[in-house]
Amino acid sequence: MVEPSSSGDAPFDLDKLQQLVEMMEKHGLNEVHLRRGDEQWRLRRGAKEPVQTASHQPQAYFMPSPSHAPAAASAPAAQSATAAADPNAGGLLIKSPTIGTFYATPSPTDPPFVGVGSVVTPETVVCTIEQMKVFNQIQAGVSGTITAVLVKSGDAVEFDTPLFRYSS
């Protein structure tokens, strides 16, 4: 039933593989799975869980390690950011582009910039982050619908702190 392609005459290009491996190392990639036609390459570094792969998916997918660099990166970090919802619950995230104090509303008496269900475009202002009394308006940077607000007004956030979860 399986009809192997005839491309098997050329051997695997290990120089390319070397390049790929170095790329993975440099960039902290955990796993690479490449397939073109009936050729597929799959590389994994430092992975713990067995990877389930459906046997005949025609997709080429890269899976850089879930978010930031692993192990070493399970950082202490500022504990000040009390998440209003679990930021590890998966899904797409809007993260803080800087460090400062998060505000969900333009002023204490205003309604929030966005809430669960808000549809955002890349230009939508989703919050302000205060640094040295300056309130920087933060844009969504993505298009989608907000599904969770992960920090509360007045929370300290650092660089890359997840602020909102959204679906595209």
Binding site: E25, H68, A69, A71, A72, A73, S74, A75, P76, A77, A78, Q79, S80, T98, I99, G100, T101, E130, Q131, M132, V134, A156, E158, F159, D160
Partner: protein
């Protein structure tokens, strides 16, 4: 005394400050870029805040991010370390406007000493020697001859608009001075459309000698003796030591006193370094003040027994210096080598990567200041210095023997380092005899 300090730096100097604070019972807040997040050395701080992506100009150099971290981290003071924002007077000003003490000199002193012209004026009024020169443009050949006679040959003819060596001539007698003046002026006219030239004494193969000083907020200034940092490659210090070898005791005392005078005149406070060049006749000339702690501060700590970082913090909090000048010793001989992640076989190109094996030497007289460990990844984003190895022994020959032993024991795998070059320097006659100048590594040791 402060209860909580933010350290606006990374790597070994951040760890150095965390350690000093921990021993004083002061809490610390670390800032880190995304590249340093989760690094082992951050565990030595009480809290760690990520202030931006890897690039320093988006993290360690962004004043508002550091101030925001200081406010969130609820600190009373910021230690800037060296490099990054440490000599940025605007940063010091913002800190203090935000009611956060900047652990360093006053903004005014930083500004004055940061400006070359003002710094020279201060030196003059403190009766500290500058490299003698014409004090302005040369207007005639006869004027040049008079000045040259006054300051003594050799002299350097420099274009006032100059740069890159253009319009520059060394003259060793009246004849070459006359010829040089014309040639330099013509070259300068051509290159910069400005024929103006001036004279300066030419210091051949100078030594780099610097004096560590610390001053409190109550007018007390002391020096902690000098360091010799002549072992340089392309103006980058490779090896530093204290005391400076082959410098007569009277010169050592004179140069240290000159540094104190200059610092007093500038109303400078906290730790600082006054840099001099020293010629073959042990004449010394002021170059500049480094208004911060320096990489090579440990050699001074070893010979004086003073913890400079702790003293910086005490002074910044208003404590008076606990000793007078006469009670600061200079015991034995201390040498520091900088271990850089660079490839000596490849024009000292940075050599980032993962450290796959690491054996740090130890034992009697050995100090190691570093944040690295086996498995640490040296990133491509920051300075290539990954650690400082310091030895302290009763005499300089013993210190050299100890350092050589240490470098023989040192194992770093996965990245290239400057250790092979350091070994060569330590075995070079000029170094062994203490007759280094700032050119010997490039002109003698590395010359092909």
């Amino acid at each position: 005394m402060f209860q909580r300090i933010l350290v606006a730096n990374r790597g070994e100097i951040a760890l150095r400050v965390f350690r000093a604070c921990r021993e004083m019972g002061i809490e610390t807040v670390a800032v880190c870029s995304a590249a340093d997040r989760g690094a082992d050395y951050l565990k030595a701080a009480n809290e760690s805040i990520c202030i931006g992506p890897a690039a320093a100009n988006q993290s360690y150099l962004v004043i508002k991010n550091i101030i925001a971290a200081a406010e969130i981290g609820n600190v009373q003071a910021i230690h800037p370390g060296y490099g990054f924002l440490s000599e940025n007077e605007h940063f010091a000003e913002v800190c203090r406007e935000c009611k956060i003490e900047f652990i360093g000199p006053s903004v005014d002193a930083m500004a004055k000493l940061g400006d070359k012209v003002t710094a020279k004026e201060i030196a003059k009024s403190a009766k500290v020697n500058l490299v003698p020169g014409s004090d302005g443009l040369i207007t005639s050949e006869s004027e040049a001859l008079v000045i040259a006679e006054k300051i003594g040959y050799p002299v350097l003819i420099k274009a006032t608009a100059g740069g890159g060596g253009k319009g520059m001539r060394v003259a060793r007698n009246d004849i070459s001075l006359k010829a040089g003046l014309k040639a330099a002026a013509m070259e300068a006219e051509k290159a910069f459309n400005n024929a103006g030239v001036y004279l300066e004494k030419y210091i051949e193969n100078p030594r780099h000698v610097e004096v560590q000083i610390i001053a409190d907020l109550h007018g007390e200034v002391v020096h902690l003796w000098e360091r010799d940092c002549s072992s340089q490659r392309r103006h980058q210090k490779l090896i530093e030591e204290s005391p400076a070898p082959n410098l007569p005791q009277s010169v050592r005392e004179d140069i240290c006193k000159a540094a104190v005078r200059l610092i007093q005149t500038a109303n400078y406070t906290n730790a600082g370094t006054v840099e001099f060049i020293v010629d073959k006749n042990n004449q010394f000339y002021f170059i500049e003040v480094n208004a911060r702690i320096q990489v090579e501060h440990p050699v001074t700590e070893m010979v004086t027994g003073v913890d400079l970082i702790q003293q910086q913090i005490k002074v910044a909090s208003g404590e008076p210096l606990p000793w007078k000048q006469r009670s600061i010793p200079c015991n034995g001989s201390a040498i520091e080598v900088r271990i850089n992640a660079e490839d000596p076989d490849n024009d000292f190109r940075p050599s980032p990567g993962k450290i796959t094996k690491l054996r740090i030497p130890g034992g009697n007289g050995v100090r190691w200041d570093s944040h690295i460990h086996e498995g640490y990844v040296v990133g491509p984003y920051y300075d290539s210095m990954i650690g400082k190895l310091i030895v302290h022994k009763p005499t300089r020959p013993e210190a050299i023997a100890c350092m050589k032993r240490c470098l023989d024991e040192f194992v770093v795998e996965g990245i290239k380092t400057t250790i092979p070059l350091l070994k060569r320097i330590l075995n070079h006659t000029a170094f062994v005899e203490g007759k280094m100048d700032t050119t010997f590594i490039e002109q003698k040791l590395l010359a092909k």
